[in-house]
Every structure is written in structure tokens, then in C-alpha cells.
Symmetry: C2
Subunit: 275 residues, 2 copies
């Protein structure tokens, strides 16, 4: 059972479907409360700046929350430049269009506890600093990367850019521990700067690095995270061909970062974590 | 007055608006006849192959033509992967969705006759061989590039890739004459392989080259073209800052290639052209 905005869909001349000319946010809602809401609003605002869209009023963005019920839900907000324009040229008086959907969500408790298996993707992310970091609607690279595997044993795929540097997973950010330090890929050339990543970086010392996948062989721990899925410990990394490249046992350090993330989201803390 | 498909728009869960997960074609229709139709069908088919979409039946793609009236019109076809899927993951049984719009079109007679002024764009196109050439719905780069100027004196903007090589204009392909040879940028890293470009290359010797913008200073003639606008002679090239970089008088060679293009489209031939 999902709830959707009254104006249910997109007219034919909307620039969202036509060009991917817009932004989206996927927000965890717990008992009616949006989690990491400040971070979501900040990223949407940054995206509006990049695309030259007016920022919707906060009240408009929060209206869907009135429909939220108890338990966990996911709120998807899509903002487009609206109708019109002659070809790619911007319409003279753009009227952005906001649509939303609210769906039930089951937190991935098994992945939190047992960790996940991930693989490298064959597809490389294009380097486009003009669009890096924001959550825009041009997501064909993510779609093609996610289509590279269909087995349910593989939870996510890691993406490198066209110069071979680690960037992210298809819908999650990447974190690892090396020599006792937390690291995450720099995202100024491509990739989406996740809200959980932002919130963790504001609380902890996490270094943004340019690194190829070989760095993962030096890592004592590896995680994937986003604001919906929380933080997953990675226990096995496979290559593009499915061959195992590396494996990790789940350590107290894994649990410690997981506890930080889950405290931010209001998710249950891992057992034995001293938060 | 425009005509549109009966199912007028996109549902909220369609992957077109959500991710730009689809393709489009913009087709010139003259007195009810689609021009370069074989080339449009071929590109759509190639795009379906890249995205893993079933190719719509030809009859389905031609259905809108029954609504076409006399004179010039433009048919826009948009094909998306349809509804569903969990995040980026492909839906198990995708049902692609086809939508179309038919609008009147005024051929740019003045641009044909007098030529156009163009400029370099600041934005660089990202290098993504996995999506190069096809006309997919991830077009934010084109939108941002087209937003770089708003004066009506500038007809188009030239785009280079992130390594500085010429690729195309925001919605047209690029051709030039150098040492008596016709050349056009290679499009295997980024850019859209236009149907007029395909048709001209099938008839004439046109070399695909990797070249930076300095090559234009050696050019005796420069054109922009697509299947809707026909072929425009370029008479002036400006830099990103509006400073003039080069200029060309319109030559018989300009008119000769224009005649080839307009014969393919069924547009009137330039005066004095020996076709």
C-alpha cells in the first residue's frame, strides 16, 4: 500500500521525463519523522543551485509527511523543471513540478548482522564535475551497472570512474578503514554525495581519497551505506567475473561505525556496540 | 495545436522520469511522411540494444503518423522501460511505455540562407562509451550547455569532451571541410549520432576524426545539421566569452552539402545548387 501525490504522474511535456531535467531524494521516514532531513534538504538545495531551479518551500517538501503512518516508510521526492522550453533551451518562466511517493520499507536487518557480498562493476562512471555529487535524474549509468548481476547473493556493485578510481556503489556510498583511519572516495568528479555519508563526515574524521580498487586489499574493514539501508559490513568482494578478490570478518570496528550510522538514522544499534 | 498520444503522460513509477531510463527520437514529418525514417528506426533499435529494451513493433511506432496533417510537423517519440523495479534494479517483466507528440514545425529558412553564428560552450561532455551515440533520456549536459547563452543571435553551442575534443553542438552534429575533405567528430565516447549525419555518411565520403577546436581554424567551411533543422552554414564562431574566433563566407561548397542534406529531408534545395 503506497500513498502518492494527488497529481499522480507527469504530463507529456515535462522536462523530467524528456531530459532527466530534475532531482530526487529518497528519505527514510520512521514513525512519521524524516531522518537526516537537514542533509536531504541541503543536497536538494545544492542540486537546485547546479541546475538553476528555484528551491521548493520547506512546507511543500514536508507536506507528504502528513500522510506518513507508523513504522518505517520511504518517501521519494522528485522535482523537475516542469513543462516547456523549445528543445533543450530553458523555458522562460519555469514552473518546477514536485511529485512524491510514500511506501512501506523493511530495514535490511540480515545485511546489518551478517554483512554482504559485493562485486566490481564492469561499467565505469563518466567524469562530469558539473553534475558530481548531486542526486539528479540522469541515472542510466546506475541502471546499466545494476543490470550487470541478477543473483540475490550479490548485494551491491562497486563503481570506478573512467580513470579507474573508486567512486561508490550503484546506490550506496563506500567507506573503508585503512591503518586505523576511515576513508571514502572523493566525489567531485562523479557519484552521488549521500546524506548518510555527509552526516558521518560531519561527526567523524573520514578522509576523502582518490584511490583505485587496490586500496581495498589494504583495508581492515569495508562498508556500504546510505540513508535508507543504513550501514552494511562487506564480508566478500568479487571481481567482475564473480571470482573472489577479498574477504573480511566482521570486527568490533565494523560494529562501531555501524552504531554511529544507525544512531543517526534511528535504527537499532548493533548488539554489543558501545555507542 | 499539437496532437498527443491518448494515454497522455507518465505514471509516477515510470522509470523514464525516475532515471531517464529510455530513449527518444525527434522526427521530421512532411505531408504525413516521416523523413529519414529508416535511420530513426535503426538508431532506436541500437539504443534498445544498449539499454536492453525490446524494440517496439514498427506499426506501433508508425501509429502517430495517422494523425499527421499537411505541411511540416515534428513527431517526438519517447520510449521508457516502463513501471517498476526495486531502485535501479530492472523490473523482472518490463513493459516499456511509448508516448508521442506531434507538433507543427517551421523550417529555419533564414538560417539556411544566411548561415548562423555559433559559440563554444564552457561545459564539457563526459566520456561514457557505454552510452555514446544513442539518443537516451539522460540529457542534463545538453540542458546545462544550452543554458549558457540566451541571446537570439547565437544559434548553437559547440561541445567538446572532457579531453578537449570536438563532439557536437547541443542538439546538432558538426561537419567541416578541410583540405577539400569533409570531416565530422567521432562519436564513440560521447555525443548523439544524428540520423542526418548517418544518412550523409552513407552517401558521401565524410571522415570521422578526433580533433580539438583548433581544427576549425583550418576549415574552409563549417556546418551544423540535424534531421529537423537541415543543414546550417556557420558564418561566425565565438569563444565562450563571446569574443569572435573565426568567420566564414558562404561558399558553393556550403550550398552543395546543404543540397545533399535537404534532398534527403525533402526540404527545398538552396538556390543555385547543382544537385
Amino acid at each position: 500500500m503506497s500513498v502518492a501525490s494527488v497529481e499522480n504522474g507527469w504530463p507529456l511535456d515535462d522536462r523530467g521525463p524528456a531530459y532527466g531535467d530534475g532531482l530526487f531524494e529518497t528519505v527514510l521516514v520512521g514513525d512519521g519523522e524524516p531522518r537526516l532531513w537537514a542533509e536531504h534538504l541541503a543536497r536538494l538545495e545544492r542540486g537546485c543551485g547546479v541546475l538553476g531551479l528555484p528551491v521548493p518551500a520547506r512546507a511543500e517538501l514536508e507536506r507528504p509527511l502528513a500522510e506518513a503512518g507508523p513504522g518505517w516508510q520511504v518517501l521519494k521526492l522528485i522535482l523537475t523543471r516542469g513543462s516547456g522550453g523549445r528543445g533543450y533551451r530553458l523555458p522562460p518562466d519555469p514552473a518546477p513540478r514536485l511529485r512524491w511517493q510514500l511506501n512501506p520499507f523493511s530495514p535490511p536487518v540480515g545485511f546489518w548482522q551478517e554483512g554482504v557480498r559485493v562485486r566490481h562493476c564492469h561499467l565505469s562512471l563518466a567524469i562530469q564535475p558539473a553534475l558530481a555529487g548531486i542526486k539528479h535524474l540522469n541515472r542510466l549509468e546506475n541502471v546499466l551497472a545494476r543490470a550487470e548481476w541478477s543473483d540475490d547473493e550479490t548485494a551491491e556493485g562497486l563503481l570506478r570512474d573512467t580513470r579507474g578510481r573508486l567512486v561508490e556503489a550503484t546506490c550506496m556510498n563506500l567507506f573503508w578503514q585503512r591503518d586505523g583511519c576511515l576513508e571514502t572516495p572523493r566525489l567531485h568528479r562523479c557519484g552521488v554525495a549521500g546524506t548518510l555519508r555527509q552526516a558521518l563526515m560531519a561527526r567523524l574524521s573520514i578522509h576523502e581519497v582518490d584511490a583505485g580498487p587496490e586500496v581495498l586489499h589494504e583495508a581492515q574493514a569495508l562498508w556500504l551505506g546510505n540513508s535508507l539501508q543504513g550501514l552494511w559490513p562487506v564480508t566478500r568482494l568479487d571481481d567482475v567475473d564473480g571470482r573472489s578478490l577479498a574477504g573480511w570478518a566482521i570486527t568490533p570496528d565494523h560494529r562501531a561505525l555501524q552504531a554511529e550510522a544507525h544512531a543517526l538514522l534511528g535504527y537499532p544499534l548493533p548488539e554489543g556496540a558501545n555507542h
